[in-house]
């Protein structure tokens, strides 16, 4: 940590004393260029991801990305994930899990990013250029982006000065600790990548398990209420800087599952709601005994509805939100 601070300090100094003529871009310009590059650049690389806060797990994956046209990721490590492939062709994600001989399908994230399904409230974010660095042998601007009002998360990006591709991302929690880091060990830009790379061709005997077909449109609370068939609940308390982002209604075991989403522009959480009887009896019984923390979230029941809050926000905030749901 002290090393990091010193490092940041030196970077900041280096930047402060750079000649005025070097025309360093502003943090918000770097952010803007970075977002624009998401839709166009083609590259292949090896990426390392570390989740410090969750479990100290580190993964290494090969990544191929071609703008919004496609993304492919294949895990090299840890051993438990080795060989898993996630391919997004801009319409659907195919996630191949060799150990279970299954391909799961999910709505395309690239499609949602292209449609800007989750609107970033740009006025809500501040971006600051904090220095420069080298990642995977390339020179990078370092910017720090955080919501203006919320204190849940600060995110640092290392952005390629020539291509504006994000080479490294670091999430920093409210106490200054690094939560997660992803960076490219190696990256190579290519003119394009064939579409056939963005689907999985699984071996014989692999079962395809289909999820929802396409990204659902975000609805207002009123629209979600009309579709749900039960009274949709919402919290009266939100952590500072968070606001309603939209709701979705999908099917789960023949019932409607409503997800009400909130964001501060960086972090988000969802309140999932489904009629009680859609859940397995064992889980229903457990919820009768009070709220439960599961591997996925914080669950409880209220008004014949089972609710789960899920998102990377501090636990005390989650319980505050849950207590305010009506």
């Amino acid at each position: 940590m002290r090393y990091l601070l010193t490092f940041t300090y030196i970077l900041t100094l280096a930047f402060a004393y750079a000649p005025a003529s070097s025309a360093a871009p502003s943090g918000s310009l770097v952010l803007k260029r970075m977002l624009a590059s998401e839709g166009s650049r083609a590259y292949v690389g090896t990426q390392v991801t570390t989740l410090a806060a969750d479990s100290n797990v580190t993964s290494e994956q090969k990544v191929a990305r071609y703008g919004y046209k496609g993304m492919r990721m294949e895990y090299l490590s840890p051993q438990r994930l080795k060989g898993e492939v996630i391919a997004d062709n801009g319409k659907v994600i195919m996630h191949y899990i060799p150990s279970r001989k299954v391909v799961r399908t999910h709505p395309s994230r690239l499609a949602m990013q292209r449609q800007r399904l989750m609107q970033m409230s740009r006025g809500n974010l501040k971006a600051k250029l904090v220095g420069s660095d080298r990642i995977a042998g390339r020179s990078a601007y370092v910017i720090e982006v955080s919501p203006v009002r919320s204190r849940v998360l600060t995110r640092k990006f290392w952005v390629d000065t020539a291509t504006w591709v994000k080479l490294k991302t670091e999430d920093i929690g409210p106490n200054g600790a690094v939560i997660s880091t992803s960076y490219f060990k190696k990256i190579k830009y290519v003119p394009s990548i064939p579409a056939s790379m963005f689907k999985v061709n699984p071996p014989d005997g692999v079962r395809v398990k289909r999820g929802p077909a396409s990204a659902s449109r975000l609805l207002s609370l009123e629209q979600a209420q009309d579709k749900a068939g039960f009274r949709v609940l919402s919290p009266s308390y939100l952590p500072p800087g968070f606001r309603f982002a939209g709701a979705t209604v999908t099917r789960f075991r023949g019932d409607n599952m409503v997800a009400v989403r909130y964001t501060d522009g960086m972090t988000s959480f969802s309140i999932m709601q489904v009629p009680d009887n859609a859940l397995k009896p064992r889980f229903q019984r457990r919820l009768r005994g009070g709220p439960e923390r599961t591997g996925a979230g914080y669950s409880w029941k209220q008004n014949g509805i089972s609710l789960t809050i899920i998102g990377r926000i501090p636990y005390n905030q989650i319980t505050n939100i849950a207590d305010s749901v009506k």
């Binding site: 969750d54 790379m197 061709n201 988000s268 591997g295 996925a296």
Partner: protein
């Protein structure tokens, strides 16, 4: 085969799902075309492991026996830590290990999980498919934000699923 055809079949080539005839044509082209050769080499690294791993991952039919014994109780199989702990244990002693497994898994997880921002406790949910649906829905939404660290979100999601004991 020309460059355009070569490009079109690159995905199947790196996944090693081309039939022998097309593969031979492709390799012939790659030998004489440095442009396609370099792209194939770059992309090949991304996908080269899929085929070989598929064989390694399901070693001796053990997983099938395991599936037959216990996983029929769940529509959404959870390989997770518990099954990894049990992997390699002959089916006949499995009944014994099954009672030991959850306790052991909990101890290991408590040691490994550390200071999670949000969850320090991975309870068995009693409804894995529900938990999985909730997780998937949220991750899909969260990573629709172009500022999100998609790799971290996906990894966190996968680890949670794997760590959720039976």
């Amino acid at each position: 085969m020309n460059c355009k055809e070569c490009y079109r079949y690159l995905g199947e080539y790196v996944d090693r799902t081309l039939d022998d005839c097309a593969l031979a044509e492709m390799e012939a082209h790659i030998r004489v075309c440095p442009k396609c050769a370099s792209l194939a080499a770059e992309l090949g690294g991304v996908a080269s492991l899929v085929k070989s791993l598929d064989r390694q991952a399901a070693p001796s039919g053990f997983e099938d026996r395991l599936n037959a014994q216990i996983l029929h109780r769940k529509e959404e199989a959870k390989p997770g830590l518990l099954r990894r702990l049990l992997l390699g244990v002959p089916p006949e002693v499995y009944g014994y290990r099954r009672s030991l497994g959850p306790a052991l898994a909990t101890v290991l997880l408590t040691a490994a999980v550390g200071t999670s921002l949000m969850f320090t406790n991975y309870n068995a949910s009693g409804d894995a498919a529900y938990i999985n649906a909730v997780q998937q829905q949220h991750v899909t939404f969260a990573s629709a934000n172009p500022l999100s660290d998609e790799s971290a979100l996906i990894l966190s999601d996968r680890m949670k699923e794997l760590n959720e004991p039976l």
